[in-house]
């Protein structure tokens, strides 16, 4: 089977005047297959967010290539990039900050639909349906981000990400800022969406908690200081960790 996302030799070096170059991501390669949920785990500063920013083209790669659905997107720009975003969407860490505070949740969820030329009425109907799929009533379309709880806001963010039916959904610490109870609700929602979409939806799940990855992912990559130090099925990694950092991750679960 062809991978949906193929990351090859991806590297990012930050250069600052008067300081030594800093390699945030060091020649990493991995594949993500259709319908798969791949966990990317690592502590703050391990480079996992840099990887995400390069895949979503919010940051240029210093070296290497990113191929999404058979198309090289490493240097995609402008209208080409907007086409790429129809295949790839993202859920951010802090839900209330991922919506414009001056616009309603409905505006945010429907933005990609409006941009692809859908009429106002049709967008409204579609937004209501999307919110419903994510466990929210249509009234939430009229609310502002500060009027809803973190969990509700993250549900809306997932609805927004799924609006244009992407093939790849990137969850960047999408549950880390939430209460443990809400975290479970969001994971349950993601699981439900996965079983509904099957091979049509692949997930890259960025996280720092290996217990969540075990619960949710098919495969896991462990990142430490810009390198992938370990990869495999979560249970295999947990049973037989090779790297010191992975061992520390496992023993630190309370």
């Amino acid at each position: 089977m062809e991978p949906l996302l193929k990351v090859n030799n991806l590297t990012r070096i930050f250069t600052r005047a008067g300081q030594p170059d800093f390699t945030a991501v060091n020649h990493i390669s991995f594949d993500l297959y259709p319908g798969e949920c791949l966990g990317l785990i690592g502590e703050s500063g391990s480079g996992k967010t840099t990887v995400v920013n390069m895949i979503t083209r919010l940051l240029d790669a210093s070296m290497g290539s990113i191929v999404l659905d058979g198309e090289d997107i490493t240097n995609a720009k402008g209208s080409e990039l907007r086409k790429v975003y129809r295949k790839m969407q993202m859920v951010f860490q802090t839900p209330t900050e991922s919506f414009d505070p001056r616009r309603t949740l409905g505006d945010g969820v429907g933005e990609s639909l409006r941009n692809s030329g859908m009429s106002r009425e049709e967008t409204k109907r579609e937004v209501a349906k999307l919110l419903n799929d994510c466990g929210l009533t249509p009234e939430f379309a009229e609310r502002y981000p500060y009027q809803v709880s973190g969990g509700q806001c993250q549900r809306a963010a997932i609805a927004r990400a799924l609006a244009i039916k992407p093939k790849l959904l990137i969850c960047d610490e999408a549950t880390s800022a939430l209460d443990v109870t809400i975290q479970q609700e969001i994971l349950a929602l993601l699981n439900e969406l996965r079983s509904r979409h099957g091979a049509e939806l692949s997930i890259l799940f960025i996280c720092h908690d290996i217990a969540l990855v075990q619960q949710f992912c098919d495969r896991v990559l462990v990142m430490y200081k810009g390198n992938i130090v370990e990869q495999g099925k979560p249970n295999d990694v947990i049973r037989n960790p090779k790297d010191d950092y992975t061992k520390r991750l496992i023993t630190s679960i309370l």
Binding site: I182, D209, A211, I238, L254
Partner: protein
């Protein structure tokens, strides 16, 4: 010995009651875990003891007794004197409660000298002794560092040490582990346990993660919507929760399944 007692405490913000009828007793060297979701009023409970409710918040009913003093009725000036030497506070992110442009040592010295005269040398010996007791390998290096030179977990440990500098009898910790990576959460928990062991400090620990409570608290208070759901010995509550809500909280903690 009893050290801190909440009696039927109600707390309101601008006329809206956010905490209702909370009672608990904290003894010397005891760790109480207050657990609940965001909006359950759990942080408000300890803010009331610190006098950090702000202009719009007030303990509208009930009493908070600390060593024979009723905290809500103390004049602001006297209450401030308690913060630090009697009641210490640990924040969610110690990193952002430090000033970024001064060394850790300079900031600890400042907070110590605010509560009575102290020479640089006295401070230095005390701080180094404290850091050593709390398991820091190189105290001098910590004091000379700027906050950003320390990792997130180290910052939080230093935050705990900073609160202990004035040897308070009670530590109030507001989500001390929530902003941290799982891999360093444990360090923070161990640091707090070491504080209790070394100084006999009583700790009120507020968190949304009941797993952290299981790892360190003697007693637990489960809150929902500003009210007490369950209160009792940790082992008892966690092993045989009486309320469905407590079970929900426990089920939500991510744990490794045996493989």
């Amino acid at each position: 010995m009893e050290i801190l007692r909440y009696e039927h405490v109600d707390i309101s913000y601008n006329g809206r009651t956010v905490v209702k009828d909370i009672s608990f007793t904290l003894h010397e060297g005891e760790i109480l875990g207050v657990v609940g979701e965001s909006g359950s009023g759990k942080s408000t409970v300890i803010k009331a003891a610190m006098g950090l409710l702000g202009d719009s918040g007030l303990v509208t009913r009930g009493d908070i007794w600390y060593k024979g003093k009723n905290l809500p009725d103390l004049p602001a000036k006297e209450r401030r004197k308690l913060n630090g030497p009697e009641l210490g506070m640990i924040f969610q992110s110690a990193g952002s409660s430090f000033c970024p442009i001064r060394t850790v040592g300079a900031q600890l010295y400042e907070s110590m000298s605010e509560h009575g005269p102290v020479t640089k040398e006295e401070f230095h010996t005390k701080a180094l002794a404290l850091l050593q007791k709390l398991g820091f390998e190189n105290g001098q290096r910590i004091l000379d560092s700027y906050p950003f030179e320390l990792s997130g977990g180290m910052q939080q440990r230093v935050g705990i040490a900073a609160a202990m500098l004035l040897k308070p009898s009670v530590l109030l910790a507001d989500e001390p582990t929530s902003a941290l990576d799982v891999s360093v959460q444990k360090q923070t928990v161990e640091e707090m346990l070491l504080v209790r062991e070394t100084f006999g400090t009583a700790i009120v620990l507020v968190t949304h993660n009941i797993g952290v409570i299981g790892a360190m608290a003697d007693k637990v208070l489960v809150m929902l919507g500003g009210e007490t759901v369950e209160y009792g010995e940790t082992q008892q509550v966690l092993n045989a929760p009486k309320e469905a809500y407590t079970r929900t909280l426990m089920a939500a903690v991510p744990r490794l399944r045996s493989v």
